[in-house]
Symmetry: D2
Subunit: 370 residues, 4 copies
């Protein structure tokens, strides 16, 4: 399988790392050729390709879509370019991996879902946290009924790089370049986890957005921040679960804290991305000995772990992408479904837009369309 | 000072414990006579008085209000009886301590505030968590600017005694006896902490309530639950802080988890009542060495600690009531203000009612009147 | 039952607190009269007695031993005075509670054991940590085989008040006044816990002592420290358990960290006094879901908890003394044994002396005599 | 630089991973050719080489030592073969990386040290935990005096795969194949960390070994275990630090717990490999706000982190090998020293042997020769 990655910054590096390592950890999957790295700046993409292990480069993504030696197109561009590239790649019969978010609007997501349904190739949306072993284990345990029926959930994704009001302006704080603020950037991960762990969708949402620091120092003087610094929502699912969501870039002391907590009728689960090798399971039972159990998710019995190191050797953030690549390659070879699907991306985007709609309406409970 | 406590169940025991011990730990306060314990059942109140150290008993609270040897009337009845007793005691010139909540409605709270303002005696509302040393320290640190300007807060109070849908009906689940569900019972503590720690009030609230289990087994068959099992809100203060609030009785694995987190522009604070001797402080600064610092709040430099044991010896839940009694006695002696005031109780009740109003209006942002 | 406490500083206060509160929490035990507080300084003992709730005072401990209205003599003097007072009290037919350590030498301990065996009254040694609910639960779980056969144990008691080489000289750092250093002061608690939790004794020990700071500033200039700042030992029990012991007063950042860890063939237990309401239990089993479980030891099913507050309300350090007093009163009433016995004190002292002997012999494994 | 790795099981895979990824994260180092993977079984090494990214294979390690296209020989064989291969490679002028332990005896280590001193190539010993960012940061902080003068240390390395007495016999439990038991396997890492963090050596040791389960089920019936299951030691350094060491394979509930704690005169440091992205620093100071600070060692200001992902994205166990490879390549290019040196391996081995000697002598304090 020949692969091309479009983009070579943060996500391009993370995906390149996955393609470079997938065979070493998942020897059962089809061999991969790291064919082409794509970037607009020829000099820089050449250097990146050399460092990251790519055979060649291109400066126009259209080129790789036309080539026969490329089977998989992996889209790591900024979100507002996802749709155009992915639609073209699907139309050309390629297998397509799109880094999250699927796109910046429900309309674009719907177009991508339609294209994926009609396409010859497989489509995968890169919600990489689905391959955190602890979260994959959490989904298994929920499915097995280990915590009973989930009633309440509590999700947050907290960072702190904007705590200081003097932190400078960046492209991420302008609506035209970033699409949205923390809600789209981090909230999408949290909403997808809720859908993934529960196996059902959010149907109604009520929400609030806030820009705590409305102006920040820019390169040419003070500039207006046009996206949200933090957002809060109450989410309701089909089956009646109520989930709270809180996302922030001003949560001082939290570096990358995607936290998930599910409360069921006979147990609960808790996760924090800052300790991604751990899952906390409580099972109601003997009152004398029950309590939160911190499972170190590094045993061969745990999802994905057989592929990696002996028991007790912890994984890092980037290993999730390698496992994601393996799942994709296996699905392609077996011609079987693979998640996250583009539908999953659409479902998440609908929730985010419902939160924005609710905020505009003073917090009113709003249908998501899921 | 002669004291009478009205009520001898959970809160009556906790307050009796405080009066019995206050002189031993706070020898500077005026000596206290544990004069009368009041309860309707003469036999049981006699037994309780003997166990708890009271000199005598009464079966009608009106009796102690009339007596000259009673200086302090401490109201530990159910919430719907607070107003009547406290108003009578204030009118009789007694010093009055009312266990939280001040009352079950804004209207009653307003009457109590007015009465306290006009009264000769001191009035104290028993939000006992204000005397958790870690929370008192948190307030000091906020006031000193150690975490900068607070922008975002995150509060929860989570218990799990209703997780199981088969957990039986109790008086706490009937609106007529309990006034409200978890929102009033636990939410009031959380809202008061927000007011206390920030030194300002919630002016707007948006909220949702939910009864996950609408019917429960009662002594005479299935019965309808008429209060909330869980509640969520977004709260806005005068200065622009946004706080999330989540309270629940179905949060499996959480026993008594009042959690508070304040995010400021240069630091943050975190607290969990299940580890009440600890406060977690993060101070932004040298990126190489900063992070959450777990302060063991058991040093003589910490609030209230000089009165207790040597450094490193942890306190429990009930010590908060003893410190509260000491503060009350000291305020009476010095004729000085003491918090929580009845105004604090009114302010909290207004927030709770605004959350209920917002819920009824589909989540719409609602003014609290504070 | 009339009680006298000898001593009114730290331990005298802690024991007075227990006598003052025992009836309120353990109404089944015989009523107690807080008869006499004994101290050499008449003025100060008068004040202490008033604060702590004692009916009267005495300045000579011999006086209370002769009085008929005193049934229980509670010895809270410095350790080197324990033997004389306790022997006299036992001889006079009193029930005797001795605060740990039983005495400062094996020889004195043996005399006390003999006297207790011959006495009419009950004798109790105040190893109060046996009444920490989490440790009492640990003992139950070991006895029930929940962790299989214990093979390895790990104990420490770490404090940090001597970390700074400029911390001043005190009576605790002079052999003549303190008997020994940290080994006797803190090591005795840890050794007793090992005996208590396992239900067997240490038979051999190998150890090392160290005084990190040999001189400290005293009131009249530099003074030589004549006791240990830290100690280490390897302890072997009858059944073949090997336990490590580490005690220190220079463990910067540890305030009062008595930690215990027991490793069994099918599980383990972990405890830290700084979080005394928690016990961590691991049970080997399903590799997917096993791990350390943090039990919040605040349920009515847990030892001592029914006497206190509703589930989830944490206890503090001083509650252990109240529960100890209740057990003592109950044992006296029922004429039944109560632990810790004076034999327990002797067994612990033998281990401490074997560690000192081993240290003097370059670390050689030494029989304890147990 | 052409590289050959000798061995393709656990360590061979971990080192191959490092060579495959080093350029992607450390683009400043010389490009590496993954030339030859060496293993005795031709079929299996072919498959491993294909999966792991090697250009070719060999079945005799002597072959790669003679080849001109191999610059670096990376020895991942079992420990008893290290010396022969490494001596030959050094003699042939290769740069040599030896996985820990350097060798199974002090005598072999001394020969390797001598050979390295005389060699043209660079020699590196693979104590990979020196490249855990949190431990590298700990060393920096000690060096900067952030915790004052270290007085006491506490090290352990605890696993639990032998807790169950029915766990089967393996080559690791036979002296002839494994050299030693847990002391050599895990103790070596802990001793090296002590040397590394303090920058000085252990000069005296006192120790105890224990085989808790003397016989285990083997493939041909019950077999005698000839190595230790657990070991304990007290270690003394040049400057007077006393360190305790405890290593075990029966520590139920601990999976891969290398823990390090350093207590200094003005602070302390704590680390646990199971949470390898965290370092806990306590700095004595303002008693109101000091306590253990959990530093998330994932900021660009932290050692090695600039090479990896943005702030807050955690690393795993295997990343340490990649950073180690980068440091080695950089040292080769600059012709500069690189640690761990073979002297470091000798120093650690001397401590392990002194512990065994002490054990044989009943625990007597023993000189290490360092």
């Amino acid at each position: 399988m020949g692969v091309a990655v479009i983009g070579y910054s943060f996500m391009g590096r993370a995906h390149s790392n996955a393609w470079r390592n997938v065979a070493a950890f998942y020897p059962d999957v089809a061999p991969v050729r790291m064919q082409t790295l794509v970037g607009r700046d020829g000099t820089r993409v050449e250097q990146a390709a050399a460092d990251l292990g790519w055979a060649g480069v291109a400066t126009d993504w259209r080129e790789v879509i036309e080539r026969d030696d490329i089977d998989i197109v992996d889209v790591c561009t900024p979100g507002h370019l996802h749709a155009e590239v992915a639609l073209a790649a699907l139309a050309a019969g390629k297998h397509v991996l799109v880094e999250k978010p699927l796109a910046n609007s429900v309309a674009e997501c719907e177009a991508l879902v339609a294209a994926a349904a009609a396409a010859r190739g497989r489509a995968l949306l890169g919600f990489n946290y689905r391959r955190v072993p602890a979260l994959a284990l959490a989904r298994e345990l929920v499915g097995e009924g280990r915590i009973g029926t989930v009633q309440q959930a509590r999700l947050s994704y907290l960072q702190d790089w904007l705590s200081d009001p003097q932190a400078p302006m960046t492209w991420r704080l302008r609506r035209e370049s970033a699409g949205s603020g923390v809600l789209g950037d981090l909230g999408s991960h949290a909403v997808d986890q809720l859908h993934y762990l529960l196996g059902e969708h959010v149907t109604h949402a009520s929400g609030t957005l806030r820009t705590f620091v409305p102006e920040r120092p820019g390169p040419h003087g003070t500039e207006t921040v046009t996206v949200d610094d933090a957002a809060w929502a109450t989410l309701h699912t089909d089956s009646g679960v109520v989930a709270s969501l809180e996302v922030s870039r001003v949560a001082t002391g939290r570096k990358n804290a995607l936290t998930v907590e599910l409360f069921g009728t006979s147990g609960s689960l808790r996760f924090d991305l800052e300790r991604l090798n751990e899952l906390v399971l409580t099972q109601a039972g003997d009152a004398r000995t029950s309590g939160p159990t911190t499972i170190m998710v590094t045993e061969p019995e745990h999802p994905y772990l057989k592929a990696w190191w002996p028991a007790g050797h912890v994984l890092g953030w980037d290993h999730t992408f390698t496992s994601q690549a393996a799942d994709f390659l296996r699905a392609i070879a077996a011609d079987e479904p693979v998640h996250a699907t583009f539908e999953d991306g659409l479902a998440a985007q609908r929730v985010l837009e419902a939160i924005e709609t609710s905020h505009a309406a003073g917090g009113l409970l709003t249908e998501t369309g899921n």
